[in-house]
């Protein structure tokens, strides 16, 4: 393998494996590359290690074997390039919206004047300037999530990791935030790794969808989403969109069905299952 300096991928999974103490494998030999500016969604039945994968990329959960390189660096070293968006907005309730958005820059030790200018910019980018002085409890769920996005973008990340960020929101809010996310991606160019349960969300947002299978967690399908950008409300009504959703859903169902079958097949021992999963 030769590494050309310009083509260093945003994320390079090299047989990344995660085992917990007891020996149960959460993720088995994940190998894939995410190129810069790609929007990659990870989807799969619960328990397939989606969130763990994201935490491994963030360097919050150590890998057992194999490697993950972010822009050619270890996850810990690459933290400055990464922003993490959690399932709930994770705002500090005692801070105003403005103080929440500034948190990352503050922890990074940026000078007050510089960070204030940056926060102003990102607040207006996300359309939150009018609530800058409010406290999180005064905001709706969708607004809180926008604050969370603003906080993540304030540090100008190269890579955005999103762990089911819109799962708790109603469908309309979710759709709107999906479009908003893509608009922000046009303005700032970052790579995204997005964990979700929703096939339509994954298809709408992504350039690629990875479908994970459980026991042990592994990439079962790698689907390119060739829908044209910019994606808008009319994308959702297009036939191509429906077709792609059907395709991804089918793949996801086959993976889930297999998972259920293995779970029901109590006669199959753990060793046999693990051995069977190895593509020798």
């Amino acid at each position: 393998m030769t590494t050309r300096p310009i083509a260093v991928p945003a994320i390079d999974f090299d047989r990344a494996t995660k085992r917990y103490g007891t020996g149960a494998t959460t993720l088995e030999s994940i190998s894939s590359q995410v190129q810069r500016r790609e929007f990659v969604s990870i989807i799969g039945p619960s328990g397939c290690g989606k969130s763990t994968l994201l935490k491994m990329v963030a360097g919050l959960s150590p890998i057992t074997s194999g490697g993950i390189a972010i822009h050619g660096m270890t996850p810990q070293k690459a933290r400055e390039l990464i922003s993490f968006i959690f399932q709930d907005a994770t705002l500090l309730p005692w801070r105003t919206i403005r103080q929440n958005v500034v948190l990352g820059l503050e922890l990074d030790g940026m000078a007050r004047e510089t960070r204030n200018a940056k926060v102003d910019a990102v607040l207006s980018l996300v359309g939150l300037s009018h609530v800058a002085g409010s406290f999180p409890r005064q905001l709706s769920g969708g607004m809180k999530m926008r604050v969370s996005i603003a906080r993540a973008l304030a540090t100008r990340p190269q890579l955005l990791l999103l762990d089911e960020p819109f799962a708790a929101l109603d469908e309309m809010t979710r759709d709107r935030l999906n479009e908003e996310l893509l608009r922000l991606r046009d303005e700032q160019s970052w790579t995204a790794l997005f964990v979700t349960h929703s096939v339509s969300e994954a298809v709408f947002l992504s350039t690629r969808v990875l479908i994970l299978a459980p026991n042990p967690g592994r990439i079962a399908h790698d689907v390119s989403i060739d829908l044209p950008f910019p994606r808008t409300e009319s994308t959702r009504r297009s036939e191509a969109f429906e077709r792609t959703i059907a395709q991804v859903s089918r793949a996801l169902r086959s993976v889930s069905a297999a998972a259920v079958a293995t779970e029901n097949g109590a006669s199959i021992s753990d060793e046999a299952r693990t051995a069977g999963a190895h593509p020798a």
Partner: protein
């Protein structure tokens, strides 16, 4: 505002009703004043012996406030150690519970034995009974921080001190106040209990607890009632001071403090 007025009127009405009931009991059963003094006699005792009543009140207030503040400072430091070093917490936390379960009336005589009577001993007794709820609640607040929030700080390579100052401490504020609120209630009780054992180093002047003992021995039942009234006033003012501080510091962001906000 209208609701507040209504609450006030009903409170006054109930108070008046109770006074009437009190007076009727005396009339009906023809009770002598040393068993149950009339409201008027109690009022008279309050006015006639106001200076000594206030002196007792202030002495008890000083012991209760001193013990509570000391417990707040020491409790906060202990809670910080508990939160930062889980092994210390595991080792010593059981003793915090011990502190809470041991009856203060059993400890008070020992303190009297070792330290003699006086304000110092009473303050120490108050300190001991205030400590446990402050440690327990503050520790809980410091360690119950959402895992994702800690991860958020870790993503910015935040130091332990930053996580403590910018995340754990502010997050623990509501719990800290809960602990102080509980402690403020028992601080006055603790000080009075302490005074029953170690009330006075000077003849004649003592805190409420000491004066209660003295008044009951002398069968000055009207003054005894006045002292109970003073103790209640003290307990209330402690509780409401803490409630006010809690509202002042937390109402902008915390749900629990908003309840008072809406009144």
């Amino acid at each position: 505002m209208k609701r507040l007025g209504l609450t006030l009127i009903s409170a006054i009405a109930i108070f008046g009703g109770l006074l009437l009931l009190w007076q009727s009991i005396i009339w009906i059963f023809a009770l002598p004043p040393y068993l149950l003094p009339s409201p008027a006699r109690v009022a008279h005792a309050v006015i006639a012996r106001f200076p000594s009543l206030v002196a007792s009140l202030l002495l008890t207030a000083a012991a209760a406030a001193g013990g509570l503040l000391a417990a707040l400072l020491v409790g906060l430091v202990i809670a910080l150690f508990f939160a930062q070093f889980p092994w210390i917490r595991r080792m010593l936390y059981p003793y915090t519970i011990l502190l809470q379960t041991v009856p203060i009336v059993a400890i008070a005589p020992m303190i009297l034995l070792w330290m003699g009577s006086g304000l110092g001993s009473v303050t120490l007794i108050t300190f001991i009974i205030c400590l446990a709820p402050i440690i327990a609640n503050t520790t809980q607040g410091l360690i119950s921080v959402d895992r994702n929030m800690v991860d958020l700080f870790l993503m910015h390579n935040a130091s332990r001190a930053q996580v403590l100052l910018k995340l754990r401490l502010p997050h623990a504020m509501p719990s800290l106040f809960t602990g102080v609120r509980i402690a403020s209630g028992i601080a006055v009780i603790g000080a009075i209990t302490g005074e029953l054992f170690a009330g006075s180093s000077r003849v004649g002047v003592g805190g409420i607890g000491y004066a209660i003992q003295y008044a009951s021995a002398q069968l000055e039942t009207d003054y005894l009632f006045a002292l109970v009234l003073a103790a209640t006033v003290l307990g209330f003012s402690f509780f409401f001071t803490v409630m006010f501080l809690e509202w002042y510091f937390l109402h902008s962001w915390h749900e629990s403090a908003r309840v008072i906000d809406q009144e």
